[in-house]
Structures are given as structure tokens and as C-alpha cells.
């Protein structure tokens, strides 16, 4: 009598615990489909999951619409999820052996995911593989493999507040084209609460000066952080900081260059295409123009930033996923994205269309040929993080010491390859 409920309870608990342990598949080997088209999953209706690290509702809606158009065309099902923390959610997917099929990968994350075999190196087989800008192909080429197709890209430009510009009595001819002119103009624009040039202190901005001086962190696989060119670039920035015609965002209480610019603390800033969306949403009354970055001692140079469409090696329908990427990287489709959230097409065949439609962003696209993507070797992102930590106090620090410690760190990670 009294036993029966007990037994039932034990049975129930056992069942619960087994069910809880059962689904986790501790010993399940993820299967990689290497057979190609003959697989059942790649039949007419694959169902694909897409995970995107979206910049906002505009981007999410544009990607969702594009995915729906692809689903309409191909008969596959595509589900788009906007991640709140992309790196974390991707890692969870890879660890569980159940990653999304298609997802954004930043050029700085490529090495980590490529190293552990999470990514499918599919991009070289795309029909439009030769259409991508060469420096973007480099950004997603790791150990000789072109892993994933660049989604779009942005370059850095000089953003100028036209009202402050005119108030200082400057004209169109005064748009700086050399470092010296930049220095003069920034000094002219520095009045009261307004600083001539404000950028964030990270390598992702100051690195452009290194490129203009002819330097860079990694040159042909070798660490070149402590080169005299880089020293010249950092010294130039440090001098401008000391003169007060330039400041870092932290000093003026802004989170990033766009905020300093929009609130009027900065007459000029160095940012990428993404500033357009921010200005529209947050500071619609501020008029601005975009100029190419001024040339340094070694000529023009800027940094470009890009994401790619990664495909998981564990994807059940790699072919369908590759079709989806091919669809998304078409010139017309990329122009749709450009209209929706301001990025630039990653394919050269769309350049003309972009120039015609967005003359105000000509400066961004015309620098595509002189742009460099930050290095993507394994461990370099940690080195850059450490460099950024040191650059924050550039005004009071010794640039040579910063560069030599970065050189040591870079040699350590590049030597470990």
C-alpha cells in the first residue's frame, strides 16, 4: 500500500533524470557531410538557420527580407535570428554540435573558428569569388584557404561638421589632404568646447595613420609593429593631442567618435560608413560631409572593416547554405543592403552602382583600393586588444615603448603559427 507511490515516484524520477541525461549526446560525433548533393538533407527543401550580429532593426529587416526572397526562389526554408551576443551564441552552437548554418564572422574572429575546424572553407568555389575586392579576400583567407564570402565592407573616412567648418571661415578648398593640412585645420576648428578632431584611441582608428605613414602591424606575415613608420604615425597623433587640436573620445565624455561628432564636441572625426545610420537616428540636425582621409608621408591609406557569411562545417545542408550566400552576395542584393543600412558592397561589380546612388559616400568607396584590413592571424586580436589598452594613454606614454611591447607580443603569436 505505502510502497506503491514510492515505486511510482522512483520510476518517475529515474525517467526524468534519464531524459535529462539522454538528450545531451556526450559522445555523439558530429557528422560532416562530405558526400555532396546525394544527401537527403540537401534535397529540395533544406531548412537553414541564420544567426546575424545585427546593428539594428534596419539590418535585421533587410537580411530577413533577403532570406525570404531566397526561400521564395529556391524552396528552402530560412530562419533568421538576430543574436544579442554573436560570439557567445556561436560558441554555444559549435560546442553543442548544432551550430546555425550561416552566420556573420568578423575578420578578427576568423582564426579562432578556422583553427578549431568550425568553418567550412567554401568561398573559393563560389561563382563570384573573383568579384570580391582583393583586400577583403585576404581578410578571410587563413592559412591559404579562402574561408568565407565577404558580406560587405566599410572604410574609414574623415567626417566633417559643415556648420563648424563654415563658422571657422573654411571653404571646400581647405579639406585636408595631407597630415600638415589636417593639423592646421584641426587647430583652426578648436574653439571653446569644440575640439578639431576627436577619434577613439584604438588601433582600429589610429592604425589608419600607420598605413598612411607606410607602416602597419603585420607585413607579409612578419611582425612590423616597431617600425619607424609606425613610430612616426603615433608621434604625429601624440603631437596633435599635446596641441589640444585632437582628443580621444573618452576625454570629451563620448562613447565613440560618432557621439562626440553628433553632440558637437568634435568638428571632425574618423569613422566608417556606419556613422550615417547613427547620424540619421540620433543627430538628424547635424550636417556633415565625408572626405577621404588625408595622405601621410607614404601616401593614402585607411583601414577597412568587414564581416563574412560563415558556413558551419557541421551544417546539415552546406550546398543550400552556399546557394544562400551566393544569393546574398549578388550585386543587386548587396545594393539593397547598402540602401538599408549604409554598408558598401563587397563585390567590385557593384561599385559603379554604389557611386551613382550614394555620391555623398564616394569618399568611402574610393578608398577601397588603398584600404588594409586589420591582421587576422590567430592570437592577433588579443595583441591588438593589448595595444588598444596602451594607446588609451598615448598622450602621456612613450610611443616607442608601446610599439616595442606590441612587437614582442606579435612575434610571440606569429612565431607560434
Amino acid at each position: 500500500m505505502t510502497r506503491r507511490p514510492t515505486v511510482a515516484l522512483v520510476a518517475c524520477l529515474t525517467a526524468v533524470s534519464l531524459a535529462a541525461c539522454g538528450g545531451s549526446g556526450f559522445e555523439e560525433e558530429p557528422t560532416v557531410d562530405s558526400t555532396g548533393g546525394g544527401d537527403a538533407a540537401d534535397a529540395d527543401t533544406a531548412s537553414l538557420r541564420m544567426l546575424i550580429g545585427s546593428s539594428g532593426p534596419a539590418e535585421t529587416e533587410a537580411v530577413t527580407a533577403a532570406a525570404a526572397a531566397f526561400a521564395e526562389d529556391s524552396g528552402h526554408q530560412v530562419e533568421v535570428v538576430a543574436a544579442t551576443d554573436l560570439a557567445q551564441e556561436l560558441s554555444q552552437g559549435f560546442a553543442a554540435g548544432d551550430p546555425p548554418d550561416v552566420f556573420y564572422v568578423g575578420s578578427d574572429q576568423l582564426a579562432g573558428y578556422a583553427d578549431n575546424g568550425s568553418l567550412l572553407p567554401y568561398a573559393a568555389d563560389l561563382e563570384n569569388a573573383s568579384d570580391f575586392y582583393p583586400n577583403l579576400v585576404d581578410a578571410f583567407t587563413y592559412e591559404g584557404q579562402f574561408y568565407c564570402a565577404p558580406k560587405d565592407f566599410s572604410t574609414l573616412g574623415l567626417i566633417i561638421n559643415t556648420e563648424a567648418w563654415e563658422a571657422a571661415g573654411l571653404t571646400e578648398d581647405d579639406v585636408p589632404t595631407t597630415w600638415e593640412e589636417l593639423r592646421t585645420v584641426a587647430a583652426t576648428l578648436t574653439t571653446g568646447d569644440q575640439v578639431g578632431l576627436v577619434t577613439s584611441s584604438e588601433y582600429q582608428r589610429l592604425g589608419a595613420f600607420m598605413e598612411q605613414a607606410g607602416g602597419g602591424l603585420v607585413t607579409e606575415g612578419e611582425a612590423t609593429a616597431d617600425s619607424p613608420e609606425n613610430l612616426e604615425a603615433l608621434t604625429f597623433v601624440k603631437d596633435m593631442l599635446a596641441e589640444g587640436s585632437m582628443a580621444f573620445t573618452g576625454e570629451v565624455g563620448a562613447g565613440w567618435g560618432g557621439e562626440a561628432f553628433g553632440t558637437g564636441r568634435a568638428a571632425m572625426t574618423i569613422e566608417g560608413n556606419w556613422i550615417a545610420g547613427a547620424m540619421n537616428n540620433d543627430y538628424p540636425d547635424v550636417d556633415y560631409l565625408v572626405a577621404p582621409l588625408p595622405e601621410g608621408p607614404a601616401g593614402a591609406g585607411t583601414l577597412s572593416f568587414t564581416n563574412c557569411w560563415g558556413i558551419a562545417a557541421d551544417s546539415e545542408s552546406p550546398e543550400a547554405a552556399a546557394d544562400l550566400v551566393a544569393f546574398l552576395t549578388q550585386p543587386e542584393q548587396q545594393m539593397e543592403f547598402a540602401r538599408a543600412f549604409g554598408v558598401m558592397p563587397s563585390v567590385q561589380s557593384a561599385e559603379e552602382a554604389f557611386r551613382d546612388e550614394f555620391p555623398q559616400f564616394e569618399a568611402f568607396i574610393e578608398q577601397a583600393d588603398v584600404a588594409t584590413t586589420p591582421p587576422n592571424a590567430a592570437g592577433v586580436s588579443d595583441v591588438i586588444a593589448d595595444l588598444n589598452a596602451q594607446l588609451e594613454s598615448l598622450e602621456s606614454a612613450d610611443p616607442a615603448a608601446i610599439l616595442s611591447s606590441t612587437q614582442a607580443n606579435l612575434e610571440a603569436v606569429l612565431g607560434a603559427q
Binding site: 514510492t6 549526446g25 578549431n116 568550425s118 588609451e392
Partner: protein, 363 residues
């Protein structure tokens, strides 16, 4: 025969009781096993393996690498070691400042609010306890606004003609600032050459950065309420006669507090400091929400570093190793303060009738 039957009945009774006991504890055991023991063991395995984040860590292609991950952190000498050293330095200053301060503040509040004479006790109690029940994320965001360079705090300071620092963007260590004020701008050579975990002694002695100070303030603000409650409960357990007896004996109020009240609070003090140590060594959410480890890595803590090493750089073994080193640190600190707070000469009242030999120490 009756004896035998009795015994068998007794044993069957007992076995039934045992079964019932296991049955009643089973849900808790299963849940703890699934969500605590197994994950901890798996993390321990990850910390000594070369798992790289793809598939299960228990799969066949993951191999045992011994203490490699621990070595990279503790003796590697590269960026990894320096980052870990920096995070330990940041967190150590945080612990050293937060634990004593929050203990003192919460005890003070408890003494104030615990007074029977005070009016509106309930209101004050609620007000002090309120930050503790608010989510740490919300409080962090509020503090980000308060301490922004044009925020309320700097506005207040500007009324006093003080130009407030750029709180969350100031990587300078407080001690370094103080030394610079006394004219010591650069480190003596003795302190820049040596060091520990890739961080020079001069850097160890930097003190918390200005940004960390705001986080320290926030921690004291949010946790004091909880510990105040513990102290209030303990204070109410102290019989009023003791206080009266001390007064009759002519003790001043100072003496009454330090000689009578405080010794009675020893167990609560132990609890508060232990909880404080555990909590402060595991700072994560304020960093994740507020600073991302910046400015200049001065708010990176081991817990946050563990997260970024794993999820950001796909170095899962190192991330897990950091977690276990952190565990060892917390245990060490707890044992240490246990030793410090040990009852030394007096025998606790509950043991008055049995005095174990080892309790008595020659004085």
C-alpha cells in the same frame, strides 16, 4: 523467535527508512548532480585538455594535455600571463577595498537602524536594503550615467569648483596619482625590473584605477544592505542584559561596542566576510555590462578574462583553468580568514561543559 522477528522487523524498518530518506533527498541530489557536479567535473577536464570549443569535450579527438593551460597562465611569460596577472591585480585591489569597507558600512548601518529609539526604522531599513534587490545590470547602467564625464557626480563636484575625473575612462591607478601628487612620477628601477605574472611591482602597486574605484563604490553601495540585515538579526539576538551588565560595570559606550557587542558578532562577521570574499573575487556582470575590462584593462577581472578567453578567443582550456585558479584563491582566502577569526582564549558558551584538549592553548 520474538527477538529474531523483532530484529528483522527493525532492520526492515530501518532499510525502509533509509530508502525513504534517499527518496526524499533524490530530487535535490539529482538536480545538484546534473547542474553542479557534472558541469564542474567537465570544466575540470576542459582545463586539462586541448578542447577547442567544437563538439563535445568528451569526444574522442580531445586529448589530455596535463597542466599546459595552467602553465601558459602562470609561467608562460607572454601576453596570456600578463593579462592574467593584470586581472589578478585589479581584482585583488577590489577585494582588499570592498570587503573591509562593506563590512564596516553594513555594521554601522545595522547599529544605526537596529536602535530601538530611532524613528522610521522600517523606512531606513528598506532604503538601505533596496540597492541589494535591484538587478546589478540596472545599477551598473545608472552608475555609468552618474559617473560619466558630464554626469551628475561631476556636476556636483563642479559646484565645489572641483574638476571631477573622467571616471570610467581614467586608467590611472589611484596610488600612482597620489604618488604623482607627491612628485613621484616614475618608478624606482627596483620596482620596474622585478615582478610577478608578467606585471611589474610598480604596476602591482598602482592601486585600483579611477574606473575601478567607481565599481568599488558601486559594490559597497549594493551589498551593504544585505549584510546589514545579517548584522541586524545578530544584534537582536544579543540579550539586552549583557549591555546593562556592562553599563553597571561602568564600561563606556566605546568599550561596550568593542568588548561586548563585537565579540558576540564573531560568527556573523565570519559569514559576512566569507560571503564578501566569494562575491568580490567573482566580479563579472558589472564588467560585462559596464566597462568591458577597459579603460586600459584596469577593470579586467579573472572571471571576465575567463569568459573572453573562452568565448572570444576560443581558448577554452585556459578559460577553464582561470576558473579553477580562482577557486583555489577563494578557498585560500577563506581558510586564511578562518584562522584569523578563530576563537582564541575563550570557550564558546555552547561548549562550556566539554572542553576538548585541543581547544585550550597555552597563553
Amino acid at each position: 523467535m520474538p527477538v529474531a522477528s523483532q530484529r528483522s522487523r527493525g532492520s526492515s524498518m530501518r532499510s525502509r527508512e533509509t530508502a525513504a530518506g534517499w527518496l526524499f533527498t533524490a530530487p535535490a541530489l539529482i538536480i545538484l548532480g546534473l547542474f553542479l557536479v557534472i558541469p564542474v567535473l567537465m570544466a575540470l577536464w576542459v582545463s586539462v585538455s586541448d578542447w577547442d570549443g567544437r563538439g563535445s569535450p568528451l569526444a574522442g579527438d580531445v586529448s589530455f594535455v596535463g597542466a599546459d593551460n595552467y602553465e601558459a597562465l602562470l609561467t608562460g611569460g607572454g601576453l596570456t600571463t600578463r593579462d592574467f596577472g593584470t586581472s589578478l591585480r585589479n581584482n585583488l585591489w577590489y577585494v582588499v577595498l570592498v570587503v573591509p569597507l562593506q563590512t564596516v558600512v553594513s555594521l554601522t548601518l545595522a547599529m544605526l537602524v537596529g536602535r530601538r529609539a530611532i524613528r522610521g526604522r522600517g523606512l531606513f531599513r528598506t532604503a538601505f536594503y533596496f540597492p541589494s534587490v535591484t538587478s546589478s545590470v540596472a545599477i551598473t547602467v545608472v552608475f555609468l550615467f552618474l559617473f560619466s564625464s558630464t554626469g551628475a557626480v561631476n556636476k556636483l563636484l563642479s559646484f565645489l569648483s572641483i574638476e571631477g575625473p573622467n571616471w570610467f575612462n581614467d586608467p590611472r591607478g589611484v596610488l600612482h596619482i597620489a604618488l604623482a601628487g607627491m612628485g613621484v612620477d616614475s618608478a624606482p628601477a627596483a620596482l620596474t625590473t622585478g615582478g610577478l605574472l608578467g606585471v611589474t611591482w610598480w604596476e602591482w602597486l598602482a592601486g585600483p584605477s579611477v574606473a575601478m574605484v567607481t565599481l568599488i563604490t558601486m559594490a559597497i553601495f549594493t551589498t551593504s544592505g544585505t549584510f546589514m540585515l545579517l548584522f541586524i538579526a545578530a544584534l537582536q539576538n544579543i540579550p539586552a542584559e549583557l549591555e546593562e551588565a556592562a553599563m553597571v560595570d561602568g564600561a563606556t559606550s566605546r568599550q561596550r561596542f568593542f568588548r561586548v557587542t563585537l565579540p558576540q558578532l564573531r560568527p556573523t562577521l565570519f559569514t559576512v566576510i566569507t560571503l564578501g570574499l566569494i562575491g568580490t573575487w567573482q566580479v563579472f556582470d558589472q564588467i560585462y555590462v559596464g566597462t568591458d575590462g577597459g579603460p586600459a584593462k584596469t577593470t579586467v577581472t579573472p572571471a571576465y578574462l575567463s569568459y573572453t578567453a573562452s568565448f572570444g578567443s576560443q581558448r577554452w582550456g585556459e578559460g577553464a583553468a582561470i576558473a579553477f585558479i580562482l577557486f583555489a584563491i577563494i578557498v585560500t582566502f577563506t581558510i586564511l580568514q578562518r584562522v584569523v577569526l578563530r576563537e582564541r582564549t575563550t570557550v564558546p558558551r555552547r561548549k562550556r561543559f566539554l572542553q576538548p584538549v585541543d581547544e585550550r592553548r597555552p597563553s
